[in-house]
Amino acid sequence: MALPYIEYEKNIIDQGLETGTERLTKERIAKVVDKVIGGETGARLKAYVDTCVHCGLCSDACHMYLSTKRDPKLTPSAKVKRTMSVILAKKGNVSPAFIKKASEIASTECNLCKRCVQYCPFGIDIAYVMSVVRRICHLCGVTPLYIQDTAHSHSVTQNQMWVKEDEWIDTLQWQEEDSREEIPDCRIPLDKEGADFMYSVIGPEPKFLAQLLYQTAIIFNAAGLNWTMPSFPGWDNSDMAMFTGDSEIMGRNKRFHYEAAQRLKVKKIVMGECGHAFRAAYDMGNRWVSWAMPPVPMVHAIEFYYDLLKSGKIKVKEKYKKSVTLHDPCNTIRGRGLHEKARYVINELCENFIEMHPNREHNYCCNAGGGVINCGPPFKKKRVSTNRIKAQQCADTGAEILITPCHNCHSGMEDIIGDYGVDMHVKFINDIMYEVMEKPGLE
């Protein structure tokens, strides 16, 4: 059944964009553009922008374009043409109102998902270009309100949800205590120096999704793993500063994260089911710091679950019965190539896996990633209405359960299937593994 197209909102008021624009001057814009174009970018940016011949092959790659009856403004090349091309052509001589629009385009009309990069005959990385636009907007002080608040949280607490240091530890101890009702000697070992690995999560887990910490504790204890979590800042691997263009805070976040691992003398970091955090820790934040690769090996949950199942450390008691499909998160599939491991994991855990199409590295973005969902309520309807294609893709599978091993995808997909009336529920791999695994020591 074809799902309806929903007209997307075009005149959204966001207080971060409004107030930031009111305070912005043309002189400041010129100074910022000179700093970024002259000092932070090089031939790469110019080559990307100048090389684009507007062939349009990127258009059909974009879920927003496909979801809006092919609105030409939402083609990837048009997003560049409406932002960076103008900034470069006018050498930064653009108005505050232009920067406001550029910020809205870069922050809410592009997920930096890189699907379009795959179809560009020249390999132009439009996500990089849009990231530079976000950087310029950040330095101009014109950023959507809610994601800016998240970046502020990162700067103060080194986590994205203003979780205080005592709240973090208290939540872990609460989940540990609860887990002992199921496995009496279950532990979430804090600051265990020399453990095999540090487990890191994103701020929403202690804030809203504490059951994931509980389930993880059960999984790791059942597998007999030697693991730890830090009691101090550095436990959050996420990074919305990466998406606001605040590179300095992004680098600081990643420094805290990796130094937590170094302090605990662990051999690797295993991170929960988050895509953007993987990108921040594996690609972006570490490199701003000058760690060409993660200084402590970083393993995404998909890969770790694969190892647990493949090695037999986790055994399945009875496979999950409901039909499931998989949303391939951009940052761990296009960004890391974990699609086959994800399928191995799901086939090990579930009886009835139905592929959605297209899939793997060709999968459509959830439209929540790239910080778009973090721009908050003002942009929610627009985010949903510009991703009809994703809802259609999910509906076409007929599956009862949608597995999304990424937090932003998870939240974004819940919004999409809810608003389009797709009859399915969203789960993490963690949810299903916890449900179907053997639990030695179970009371």
Binding site: G141, E165, D166, D185, G194, K267, W291, G376
Partner: protein, 421 residues
């Protein structure tokens, strides 16, 4: 600093405690910690459902009621045993079995002065935050607190605190500055957008911190007064131990370097600079640097070593006379010690912070290799591969090493002549 002269440097081997027996006495035994002199070993133990105690050398603490929660068990530098414990949702540090009198809603981030005489924790009561040192909380408390530190003598404690309330997503109010530093609970009179990692000077009379004036301008603040220059980024400052000058990594247009009292100290520029340190004896200044992208090393007085590591460099330390620097270097997930620019011919799965002998001629470190733990001196392994070891300690004359190890579940304290490595 811990005085090691009175420790037993003669007894070659002591079986201090058999941890296997502990495991028979309790539901479970958590990871053990050992005293600096190696004479004691302790762990949090579970005695019943939601009941915990501390076991030291096989003997449980005599406490009135078991703890409902216990974590952060540590020995202080002077050998006292501390745990953060809770019962009936009331938290207290417990020192050698004796609880503090003050009750908190939560405590964390246990810290010690250099001699161990001062014990500090971060605390929260009724959603207000402050530090507490030796059972005395600050008089003032705050709605938020982070980056806690304690001075070397333990007489001063400080943290980054929030002095202006912020509602949800009040981003522009945030950008006016809601944070400052508080010393012994007393805030500076100037606010900043962010106040991060701080350092006290040697006598604790001055405090320096990294701050952000707005979303873009970073600088160093000393006792509430910011440097005049703003930088693209800064990292944690330190005080020169002899001159009291403040030294911090700063990001300039052409790269990272060190600044001293707001003047550029090093002519050289790096892709990254942090964890600078000053030798009190030689007055040399060293820092971990990336000499170019992805190539990590140590720079001493601005001059980088020739050797570089692709993954990272950590845990740098000066020799006691300040003539040498040792650090951990990592390449392709293999760890080693690098001593004054020369890497040990030994690749390990993990290495702990190197330790210089008192005369500075030898370097020892705890290492992890093939799933076993041991000690290495100048790149040579101890002949025992253990389940666990703790970091080595040289005798005052540098001729012996205290090796604290667990083998087959038994904890041993051994004194090994350095020439046996």
């Amino acid at each position: 600093m811990t005085d090691t002269a009175n420790w037993d440097w003669e007894t070659k081997e002591k079986l201090v405690s058999d941890l296997n027996e502990w495991k028979d006495s309790y539901n479970w035994v958590e990871e053990p910690y050992v005293s600096p002199d190696g004479e004691k070993i302790a762990a949090i133990v579970n005695t019943d459902e939601a009941e915990f105690n501390v076991c030291e050398n096989g003997k449980a603490w005599e406490i009135e009621e078991p703890f409902e929660k216990a974590y952060s068990l540590r020995y202080s530098p002077d050998g006292r045993l501390i745990v953060l414990s809770a019962a009936d949702d009331e938290w207290k540090p417990v020192v050698d079995g004796k609880p503090w009198e003050t009750i908190f809603d939560f405590i964390w981030d246990l810290k010690f002065s250099n001699d161990g005489k001062a014990i500090a924790v971060a605390s929260q009561t009724d959603t207000e935050y402050c530090m507490a040192v030796n059972d005395v909380p600050w008089e003032d408390s705050y709605t938020f607190m982070t980056c806690m530190i304690l001075s070397a003598d333990g007489k001063k404690s400080a943290s980054s605190v929030q002095t202006i309330p912020l509602g949800q997503a009040e981003v522009f109010k945030f950008q006016e500055g809601a944070f400052t530093a508080a010393v012994n609970g007393v805030p500076w009179d100037k606010n900043f957008v962010n106040v991060w990692n701080m350092a006290f000077n040697a006598d604790g009379s001055s405090l320096a911190a990294e701050v952000r004036h707005n979303l873009y301008d970073y600088t160093i603040v000393v006792d509430g007064k910011p440097w005049n220059t703003v930088y693209g980024c800064v990292w944690q400052p330190i005080f020169h131990p002899n001159t009291n000058a403040v030294i911090a990594p700063v990001k300039l247009k052409d790269g990272w370097t060190l600044a001293c009292d707001d003047n550029i100290l090093w002519d050289s520029r790096f892709t990254q600079v942090w964890q600078q340190m000053v030798s009190k004896e030689s007055e040399k200044i060293a820092a971990i640097v990336a000499s170019s992208y992805g190539k990590w090393t140590i720079a001493v007085d601005g001059k980088p070593w020739n050797i570089t590591f692709g993954d990272m460099v950590t845990d740098a330390v000066f020799s006691p006379d300040g003539s040498r620097v040792a650090c951990i270097g990592t390449d392709k997930e293999q760890y080693t010690i690098c001593d004054n620019g020369n890497a040990w011919d030994m690749k390990c799965d993990m290495v702990w912070k190197p330790v210089f002998s008192p005369d500075g001629n030898k370097v020892a470190a705890k290492i992890d290799k093939n799933g076993k733990r041991t000690i290495a001196v100048d790149g040579r392994l101890w002949n025992k591969m253990c389940d666990e070891v703790w970091e080595p300690v040289f005798s005052p004359d540098g001729s012996k090493i205290l090796c604290r190890s667990v083998e087959d579940g038994k904890y041993y304290r051994r004194i090994i002549p350095v020439n046996e490595f």
